[in-house]
């Protein structure tokens, strides 16, 4: 009994001392180091989105390091408070916690529209600012909110480039009009795949495309042989696939297993442009096209700061960047930092105002994007999706011409 009493007194005193110590630090903020600017980062670090969620966050971290090395914004260092927003519920609770408890009004994220949508809802209600660097669903900037800014392009923007590519490049290669090309659609059936498919199908209807087969499937399927069997039957000349990585690998491997020679394959982002895809399917990746957020093999004349970014990433993380997502976040973070610098304030309204005044032409950022936000929606109107192709184990940008490093190749 006596021991217990002494022990609890000891524990309580330690706790009290620690608490005092912390509040002393807080009081020291006048005359000494300037207070850091806290920015909350909401990314999926665990769960099925973890791979690219972590990759996205890394880009933002490289940008923060770069600015802090030069002394921060006006002498104030940036403190990136990272949280794990692995699913919509976590996104909502983390956003609420950061804004109400940690008193952070500037948030960044998120790679996934399923996280961006709830997090920006919270920001709108609480008067904070959420800047999105990677999620593509159009809905994110279509709610008329003042709380959201998005640097990266939307799905519909990607569609425009994709159609251009299909018309000017693929149809030409096949020596046909685009509406005579036999097109097959294969897509995973969650929001990612179905939104893209729906949008494409409505365009296809209007322009009279020849869709010979349309096959949605579950991304967690263990077997996609039925898809290959049906493709064999419908004989498309162009396959549009929207897949995550495991299913992209499975589709390619099972096509080989079932003796089906895949025609021109255009992947809609997701798994096809990832390094892990090429590592898994090896020579079968040759010739596969993807629509992507800008990747690394870009025309150096159009991408100021590209090599510096790649070097900084390698130095900090010890590997090559996994995908273009980190670079999109790097560029986006630098845009936010510039807005805060120009606003001379971290208040959401002032930062948004300063962001609206930014006018950077294309070709002046590490991935070739420009910056000009739409006043009403908060969407950056100068960011683009590019088309890449796997050529000899490298993911090379082949379209649009400004950013291409090489001509595309065509498989026999």
């Amino acid at each position: 009994m006596k021991k217990f009493f002494l022990l609890s007194i000891a524990v309580m005193s330690i706790l009290i001392l620690v608490a005092c110590g912390k509040s002393d630090d807080a009081k020291k903020s006048e005359g000494g180091k300037k207070e850091a600017i806290k920015i909350g980062a909401l990314y999926p670090k665990t769960g099925p989105l973890a791979l690219l969620g972590t990759e996205s966050l890394r880009g933002a971290q490289v940008a923060v390091d770069e600015v802090n090395a030069k002394g921060g914004i006006d002498g104030q260092k940036i403190d990136l408070i990272t949280t794990d927003a692995g699913d919509p519920n976590a996104a909502t609770s983390e956003a609420t916690r950061l804004i109400t408890k940690e008193k952070i009004d500037l948030l960044i994220g998120s790679f996934s529209s399923s996280i961006s949508l709830p997090a920006s809802e919270v920001a709108e209600r609480q008067g904070a600012l959420f800047v999105e660097f990677g999620a593509v669903a159009d809905a994110v900037t279509e709610r008329g909110y003042q709380s959201i800014l998005r640097v990266n392009p939307r799905s519909s923007d990607g569609l425009i480039i994709q159609l251009e590519f299909m018309e000017k490049v693929i149809a030409e290669q096949l020596k046909k009009e685009l509406k005579d090309v036999r097109i097959a659609m294969v897509y995973e059936d969650s929001a990612f795949g179905t939104t893209g498919a729906e949008i494409f199908l409505s365009v296809a209807k209007k322009r009279g495309f020849n869709i010979v087969s349309e096959q949605p499937y579950s991304a967690t399927s263990n077997d996609l042989s039925s898809i290959i069997i049906k493709l064999k039957e419908s004989k498309p000349e162009l396959v549009l696939a929207t897949s995550y990585i495991a299913d992209a690998i499975l589709l390619t491997n099972q096509a080989e297993e079932l003796g089906y020679k895949m025609p021109i394959l255009l992947g809609g982002g997701g798994g096809h442009p990832l390094k892990d895809y090429e590592k898994a399917v090896g020579p079968l990746a040759q010739g596969v096209f993807s629509t992507v957020l800008p990747e690394y093999q870009l025309n150096k004349d159009f991408t100021e700061g590209l090599q510096e970014y790649i070097d900084a990433y390698k130095k900090k993380f010890g590997t090559e960047p996994q995908s273009g997502h980190s670079m999109a976040n790097y560029v986006g973070m630098k845009v936010l930092i510039e807005a805060i610098t120009n606003a001379k304030s971290k208040e959401p309204k002032k930062v948004r105002e300063a962001a609206m005044k930014l006018d950077i032409p294309k070709g002046k950022t590490a991935n070739g994007w420009g910056v000009k936000f739409d006043e009403k929606t908060g969407q950056n109107t100068r960011s683009d999706i590019y088309i890449t192709q796997w050529i000899d184990k490298e993911l090379l940008t082949v379209y649009p011409k400004d950013v291409a490093v090489q001509e595309m190749i065509w498989m026999k």
Binding site: T46, G47, P48, A50, L51, T54, D189, Q215, P216, Y217, S218, T220, S221, N222, D223, L224, S225, S226, I227, I229, K230, E233, I245, A246, I249, L250, N253, Q254, E256, E257, L258, G259, D276, K279, A280, G282, L284
Partner: protein, 293 residues
């Protein structure tokens, strides 16, 4: 021709499902516990196979022998350390225990290996055997053959060996077996160990075909439960046939209807079986469907 190819694809797929489910069948039928971490044991087996390949240059089919042994011990330890202490506790405790284990293992894998999709490259991976215009993938064929061998081996083990018969006795009537002098606790350990070792075989067979990543178990474990209940708990052959049935149904549903509804079709069949013959299609009859929760 199209249908024949679909049938073959379905059977090969079913062979893999059977391989994964037989381990679960053993655990569910003998220890009578729902092992939510079954998928994670599969993941561990795949990661181990991957490591043996990267570090020791061992072909997955060769390292399978090592993996079976390692997983046996992992299973036995799980039984001894996690399940045994709570065997008489209420149902939610046991559910939380294996569910917690599942989450812990997934995140442990995430910490150790990162979220990357890892795969091995072997020379025969995409080899195909072609018969009369039908394509049969070699790794899948091997997995199917191994599944058959496993069923046969299990049959002999359970029928002809002392330990095997003790396992069957415990699964039929735990108390009577105890009274007969069988060390039930040890049999539980052996059964759990064997169940986990079986999923180790599955993991080795799967790695040449699928990539491994922390949540790979989740995509297979649900199907394993369906197969086990469909085939009848306590019946090894039931799990084998159940796996084949699910594989074929999934394959045909994908081709004849749409890939998007594959899972719906076999889940509907699953529900029907539960309503009409809840002990499973090949079960030993009423009573064996009661899992000791």
């Amino acid at each position: 021709m199209l249908l024949l190819q679909t049938l073959i694809a379905g059977l090969l797929l079913g062979g893999m499902y059977a391989l994964i489910s037989m381990g679960l069948n053993m655990i569910l039928g003998v220890v009578r516990i729902i092992n939510f971490a079954h998928g994670e044991f599969l993941m561990i087996a795949m990661y181990l196979s991957y490591l043996f390949f990267i570090w020791g240059n061992l072909d997955p089919y060769v390292s399978a022998i090592l993996i079976v042994i390692i997983l046996f011990f992992i299973g036995a330890l799980t039984q001894k350390l996690l399940i045994e202490p709570i065997i008489d506790k209420p149902a939610p405790t046991k559910i939380f225990a294996t569910l917690g284990l599942s989450i812990a293992l997934q995140n442990l894998a995430l910490m150790v290996f990162d979220a990357n999709y890892l795969s091995v490259k072997t020379s025969y991976q995409t080899s195909v055997v072609t018969l009369f215009n039908l394509s049969i993938s070699v790794p899948r064929l091997l997995a199917f053959v191994v599944a058959i061998l496993v069923v046969i081996a299990l049959y002999y083990f359970l029928q002809k060996t002392m330990v095997g018969r003790a396992i069957r006795a415990v699964s039929m009537q735990r108390t009577a077996a105890h009274l007969m002098g069988i060390n039930v606790k040890r049999i539980y350990m052996v059964a759990f160990g064997i169940g986990t070792a079986l999923v180790g075989v599955a993991g080795s067979m799967l790695l040449p075909i699928y990539s491994v990543f922390p949540t790979v178990g989740a995509s297979f474990v649900l199907i394993a439960f369906v197969v086990v209940v469909l085939g009848g708990m306590g019946n090894m052959f039931g799990a084998f046939y159940g796996g084949l049935i699910i594989g074929v149904v999934e394959s045909f549903a994908g081709v004849l209807i749409s890939p998007g509804v594959k899972e719906i079709v076999y889940f509907i069949i699953f529900l029907l079986v539960l309503l009409i013959k809840p002990a499973g299609l090949f079960s030993k009859g009423k009573g064996s469907e009661e899992v000791g929760l």
